[in-house]
């Protein structure tokens, strides 16, 4: 029997790997994929708690998180396409029009 802690530790590790990807990578698409990784690690926590506490709510919530992630991916990738069309780059250091 795997203790619940191990699932939580695994989830923390993948979340932090995703966070490192977000703060260190400069390619907008890879930053985006790192965000997906972070969402997935949170999903793992939800499913683990749901399974260990015998309550289906966590798994229903994961379903909603997946819907939000799909919507976010569609809109975010559309934004990346629009940016690339204007700037010919996906490097987020060169996309700084909102920076003051």
């Amino acid at each position: 029997m795997i203790p619940l802690e191990h699932y939580l530790i695994l989830s923390a590790i993948t979340f932090v790997i995703g966070a490192v990807g977000v703060v260190t990578r400069r390619n907008a698409i890879i930053v985006f994929m790192s965000i997906e990784l972070m969402l997935n690690s949170v999903n793992l926590t939800l499913v683990a708690f749901s399974s260990y506490m015998g309550d289906a709510t966590g798994q229903v919530l994961v379903f909603f998180v997946m819907t939000v992630a799909a919507a976010e991916a569609a809109v975010g990738l559309a934004i990346i396409i629009a940016l690339f069309r204007n700037k010919q780059t996906v490097n987020i250091d060169e996309i700084n029009i909102l920076k003051w």
């Binding site: 932090v16 790192s34 499913v47 909603f64 991916a73 396409i81």
Partner: protein, 193 residues
Amino acid sequence: MENARRWVNSIIGCEPRRLSGHSVTFETVLFYGLAAASVGSALMMVTRRSPVMSAIWLIGNFFALAGLYLTLQAQFIAVVQIIVYAGAIMVLFLFVIMLLNLGDPKKLIEKISYTKIIAAGLSGGMLMELLAILGFSDVRLPEQNVDRAIQIGTVENIGKEMFTTFLFPFEITSVLLLAAIVGAVILAKRKID
């Protein structure tokens, strides 16, 4: 359905097999193998230079996660993970990478700077913090009741919850998806009149 469930459970060793002590069961091998695959593919995804390789490693991570969901008896979520994430979202990512002609591979090289090292260090601090929360908390984490876990993870049970208790959020989800479709079409349009 019943046979399939029994088969999955016999594969992932969820039929409660009370083995004494710290004997290595198939279950533990599976969990640590999948955990290593998940962490390894996540690391590979973050460090690859080309976005296509990153996307492929991320798909590997999604498959490892689906396996982990199966070890948690969450059959429905495991299948949805493969269909929605590995199937739909990652195809969308690969399409966008294909559409954006990123050109010269040399331009994809990213330099290591002090700010990046500090940022990675702070993220490491966050990991320590998360682990400390687990380590120092007095909350007793629940033990798994395998029979109950098998019951709640089925399509039947999740569907029942979704269309009774969570019916309103489920309907609102359709509005969210509609907004996402409209937003994506407007943003990706060549010219906004």
